[in-house]
Amino acid sequence: MDILNVENIRKSFRNNISFGKEEVLRDLSLFAGEGEILGFLGPNGAGKTTTIKIIVGLIRPDSGKVRILGNSVSDRRTRRLIGFLPENPFFYPHLTLEEFLIFCGKMSGMKGKMLKVRMESMIDKVGLARHKKKRLSTFSKGMIQRAGLAQAVIHDPDLLILDEPFSGLDPLGRKMVRDFLLELKDRGKTIFFSSHILSDMEALCDRASIIREGVIVKNVGLDELFIMGEGKVEITARGYPECMAGEINQYADSVQRSGDETFIVVNRQEYVRSLIQHLLNNGAEILRVAGVQPSLEEIFVSEVAAVENGNQKTTTGEIPRVETSV
């Protein structure tokens, strides 16, 4: 059973300038299973935050359904199953961290000693034990982000929805959040998060959904990245004459130069040996031969560019061609 199931949601907002309606989400669907980490990628204004707000019940869709463990999010009991960290969070500045987490726990139906124990444990987990008696008004952006993560998980929800969880964190903070999310995944929690930091997404996600102009344009399994790169080899050579680059173009998927070095990506294994021979024969030194796989960033850029060029793709499996230059 899917923990999160978003089916064909549409959402329009009134445009105060043109007095018309602007469609922000167009038939958007996505899902996340138990113990899965689903990344949510998209350029600014693609509809990520609107989607997230619909999932947590802050906005109602014009049509379509959001189900969490099979229940509608408009039923307030369902919201007990969700932990939410908004983008650029702002919390009650007059409360201390302890008071704030107790407040959040009580709002989610927790009470008594269990809440206190949980609160202490979450404060330790996000590394704010020294600051628990301080008011949130004195917290830095990174500390607020950590406090936000603690409030999102205080009630041990099954589904964690995080909007830009790495925003404002220093490298240690990012590592802490990554480790914490992986620990939650190990405990069977489902995590759905948006981020612009693709390296973190690659390190964490099982899958990533790419949204563009209110539509999911690609679903990528992170294990697919290996398959998508199967058979590709990158050869790095030094000293290959630039004037001869035209000779290898027909065999290579891409050829790029940086200073004295040439980077050649070959799509077919049978070309590798002859290409290396050709490079050696022309006085080049082979620095590295390695298999390649596309990064999430390359896929993201490719998908966004594809839509911008009116060439929208919705299937998986095709490796995007990176721009070549010789």
Partner: protein, 256 residues
């Protein structure tokens, strides 16, 4: 119920830890004490009556102003700064949220009214007077009036800005204080349509004159406790209806 109490406690903390309540409280206390100092200059009236009259008026005025200012900013600030996301994404209904806000502001107002009443009581006793049942009844009705104003503020704050909420509520406060007089005036001199319109306003607007027992308290005029009970019931019904309308508006609201 626990969630409403939790939101109310948070709102109370916010009000008490904010500076507004203290500023208003200190200002109110200074004015009440200054009445004691200045009352010997008055001619023909008993000193304790002047202190009681001015003291009750100040408590009512500062209480209403606090309800308007705190009520108009608290909800809007939470929505504007997105702190409300932390609450509404949990198993909390929007009605519970509004009730929590209402009771939180009311708890802060109780604290403020009690503090100012104690100061006034001390000043009255020092001025040679005594604390009467009429004074306590007048204070109680002032507080009930603040509850009505607070519900109105909450209603406006669910859909408009703090400045407009303040403006609308002050207008409504003025109209509600005069609605009884206007009705009498219209019935004596007005045309059919005017009578109908003023009657409509009379029933829609809160009749705030009902909450004014200051004249009776100052001059020791007898009053019926049943009137106080009826006025309290009227206020409870009025607040409930207004909070329900607030809920209807707030439940449709989207947090874009």
């Amino acid at each position: 119920m626990a969630r409403i109490a939790n939101i109310a406690l948070n709102t109370f903390r916010e009000s008490v830890r904010g500076k507004l309540l203290y500023i208003v409280l200190i200002f109110g206390v200074i004015l009440i004490v200054s009445t004691y100092i200045l009352s010997p200059l008055s001619v023909g009236a008993a000193k304790d009556k002047i202190i009681t009259d001015v003291g009750l008026a100040f408590i009512s005025f500062f209480g209403v102003m606090t309800a308007v200012i705190a009520g108009s900013t608290l909800v809007h600030k939470e929505v504007d700064k997105k702190a409300i996301y932390t609450v509404l994404t949990r198993p909390v209904s929007r009605l519970q949220y509004l009730l929590g806000k209402f009771f939180g502001i009311m708890t802060a107002l109780i604290l403020m009214v009690v503090a100012m009443s104690v100061v006034m009581g001390v000043v009255v006793v020092l001025g040679g007077g005594s604390i009467t049942g009429g004074m306590l009844a007048a204070l109680f009705l002032s507080f009930i009036e603040m509850a009505v104003i607070c519900s109105v503020v909450l209603f406006f704050s669910t859909f408009t800005t703090p400045v407009l909420t303040f403006f609308f509520t002050i207008c409504l406060f003025a109209a509600g204080s005069l609605s009884g007089d206007l009705r009498v005036f219209a019935q004596k001199f007005g045309s059919g349509t005017m009578k109908y319109v003023i009657d409509l306003f009379y029933y829609i607007l809160p009749n705030l004159k009902l909450f004014n027992l200051r004249h009776e308290a100052v001059h020791g005029i007898a009053f019926h406790y049943s009137d106080i009970i009826l006025t309290t019931v009227y206020a409870a019904v009025y607040c409930s209806v207004i909070i329900y309308f607030s809920y209807l508006v707030f439940s449709k609201r989207e947090f874009v």
